[in-house]
Symmetry: C2
Subunit: 108 residues, 2 copies
């Protein structure tokens, strides 16, 4: 599969799942309770998230607890970095401009 994390977070249900399992491990059934779709639909989302290496799992008896591999989310953060550089730079430029205008105003 040529799936990546950007595909994973494209779907709103999957984004909600990621938030839910970010702080606590949950079973597929527990997750399905949170949504108005069938357990199997949730299961397919889990499968996709798993393929994207976003999940760690722990088997307890016949239950499987899924939790978010939070470090994987850093990949999105890293991609955003190139844009963050730009908006921070532009903010600095605006800041410089305002400082300059202010000092010019004080001189008059």
């Amino acid at each position: 599969m040529k799936r990546d994390i950007f595909q994973a977070i494209a779907d709103p249900t999957r984004r909600a799942i990621l938030v839910l399992i970010a702080t606590q491990a949950l079973t597929p059934n527990a997750l399905a309770d949170q949504f108005d779709i069938t357990r199997q639909a949730v299961s397919k989302h889990i499968k996709i998230l798993n393929e994207c290496e976003l999940l760690k799992q722990e088997k307890v008896g016949r239950e499987i607890y899924y939790e978010l591999k939070i470090d994987k989310m850093k990949e999105v953060d890293q991609w955003l970095e190139q844009f963050r550089k730009i908006w921070e730079n532009r903010f600095d430029q605006l800041d410089d401009l305002l400082t300059k205008l202010k000092s010019e105003n004080n001189e008059s």
Copy 2:
């Protein structure tokens, strides 16, 4: 259309377009030159990005220059914030643990 920025960045071609127009305004034709797909395919990507309010455009004669509304990218950053809090918190906890272990080691 119920499209959002997460849909917009799900496609690799669109991500590449966003990078290209982040620092310079480009026409659809100029963009199409960068990819191995038809101009119309690029045009459809532009349409989608536009629906997501990711673009500003300036018409010059019959050419249209598209540039990224960089502030819109902050929406992704904001969504990531909840995860960033978690991984930064865990890093702090690890840091505390290491500091604690170190001091205990010094005491022995």
